[in-house]
Symmetry: C2
């Protein structure tokens, strides 16, 4: 989508401008912040601009919440990478790997403050509704990370709990980004709610598709190592469905594979994938993505205040998010 | 001060009320937060209430920024304890010691969000100036922690840099707390500035006195282990002055004591204290505290909008902060 590229560039230019103004004396605090903001697809700030465009709001004003959601998102990545002990992100060392754990904690904290520092540049009457949405979402993301951490030590995760976790950890921020564009453009309550729900549905579909590609994607299009979730015993949509559907032998086999120490990683990946195939997990997963995509389409149709050409942009955006292999 | 006790109780009651309303489902995220808020002298929220009282503002409204500064302060303690690898705070295990490092990072992050969640309860026109003050201060506290971390690996710290560090890490939050009471009470620019500077001066004096008591206090009144800063090689007002004033032999001795591995802790404390005595560091330190206290008194006298009985309360407060041995 050409338009999304334009938004990305707008965001990058705006970031560079903002960071040229920071106190160079405490460079050590700010260097990891600019580093962490480099790269990535900028889906969340792009969502703010797209939504603002659709609801015919002020794009210049929209750069304020766009900055805030991207800053917040990268703050969560920075701290999550510490918590998950991850050393690579976007093909580069993570902040705690490049600097230190302490630096990652502290620079992350400063990022959180910069989120709000930016938001108070909004016109006064928009500050409260925007910060309300950001706060609600930010707490939900923390709750999602809490659930994700809790899942690490158990195989007993219901599908419902899993869906709640990915909703909190992934979908709500995309939904909030889209709804922020609507909020600052003074869209109707109905439209704010539907664009939010649209974001939840494509956010969930995005995450489940990510789970799917980890097992059944192609390295060159997925861009991440295939089978990594299996090696790291991650609770995914695929595994949780498999555990709930498998008969005794396969269930025991899965439990054993996901608790015992892994000697041969490739063998583990193959064994797990064989069970997934046998239980038709690929089909079940694709069906779930389809259902979520259809719900997202209904959300688009329910929008009252926008033209059909604007709706077309949202369809394209949903395609861009969900059909991607990367 | 009887009045401060009343404020403390108001704050504690208000906290209990707020936390009874949180989502119990994600208890694990919120338990460390309520735990970390227990105890402590609540100097910062008390400062907000005291200042609001002095400038004849609305005490009920003042509970909002009071909550925010105490939440922010405890958030910094929680993350600082991780960074400093400290296992005891207020005579109890720190959050990362009781739960885990990951839990301390995540619950700390949630606390930061709760700061702003609370602040948007203020009347709309007060949200922006209050968040501006909180943001500026919060970033300064991060910058102070950055300097403090940087000091860990060097003995080459100038007195100027040290004063900047304690200003950022300790004094600005007390100053901000006092000024927030003035801001929400619509005090004049002059009075907001003077109550802020009063906070900086007593905050600096408080920290330098803390450094002093670590070497020359009495366990029963100080409440912390005597000599701990010396054992942990902390850069204090005392050490930095001693390093800048000592002649060759004492300077080499100090450098050696602060870099070599410590075999006998008590012997190290005695040796360092002997050099401090020889260089008249106790007198220099007490003189610095006196100068700061006199500046704080001038700040009180410069306040235009309050009666002399209100000024009396500020004198008492300064005494309470600085003359304390705990």
């Amino acid at each position: 989508m050409q338009r999304l590229k334009i938004y990305q560039q707008l965001i990058i230019d705006n970031f560079n401008e903002i960071f040229s103004g920071y106190n160079p004396e405490i460079k050590k605090l700010y260097d990891p912040i600019t580093y962490s903001l480099e790269g990535g697809k900028k889906i969340r700030p792009v969502s703010v601009l797209l939504s603002t465009d659709i609801f015919e709001g002020n794009l210049k004003e929209a750069l304020i919440p766009a900055f805030a959601v991207e800053m917040f998102h990268n703050f969560t990545l920075l701290h999550d990478d510490v918590m998950d002990n991850s050393f690579v992100r976007r093909n580069r060392p993570t902040v705690h790997a490049k600097w230190s754990v302490n630096q990652a904690i502290l620079s992350g904290d400063a990022m959180m403050i910069l989120v709000y520092q930016k938001l108070i540049e909004l016109p006064s009457h928009k500050i409260k509704p925007v910060i309300e949405m950001i706060n609600k979402t930010a707490l939900q993301v923390c709750e999602g990370q809490q659930l994700d951490m809790d899942f690490e030590t158990t195989l007993n995760v219901s599908l419902e709990k899993y869906m709640q976790m990915i909703k909190l950890k992934t979908a709500v921020l995309l939904a909030a980004s889209l709804s922020l564009g609507a909020i600052i453009s003074d869209a109707s309550e109905n439209d704010i709610k539907n664009i939010y729900d649209f974001g939840i549905n494509i956010g969930l579909a995005f995450q489940i598709q990510d789970d799917y590609f980890d097992s059944f994607g192609e390295l060159k299009t997925f861009g991440k190592k295939i089978g990594n979730d299996i090696i790291t015993n991650k609770k995914t949509f695929l595994l949780i469905n498999a555990l709930s559907m498998a008969e005794k032998t396969d269930k025991e086999k899965l439990k054993q594979l996901y608790t015992a120490e892994t000697k041969d990683e490739q063998a583990k990946i193959e064994e797990v994938k064989n069970i997934f195939f046998k239980l038709q997990i690929p089909e079940i997963t694709k069906e779930k993505i389809k259902i979520l995509y259809e719900s997202a389409q209904k959300n688009i149709e329910n929008l009252k205040g926008i033209s059909s050409s604007k709706k077309e942009q949202l369809y394209e955006f949903a395609e861009y998010i969900i059909k991607r292999e990367k």
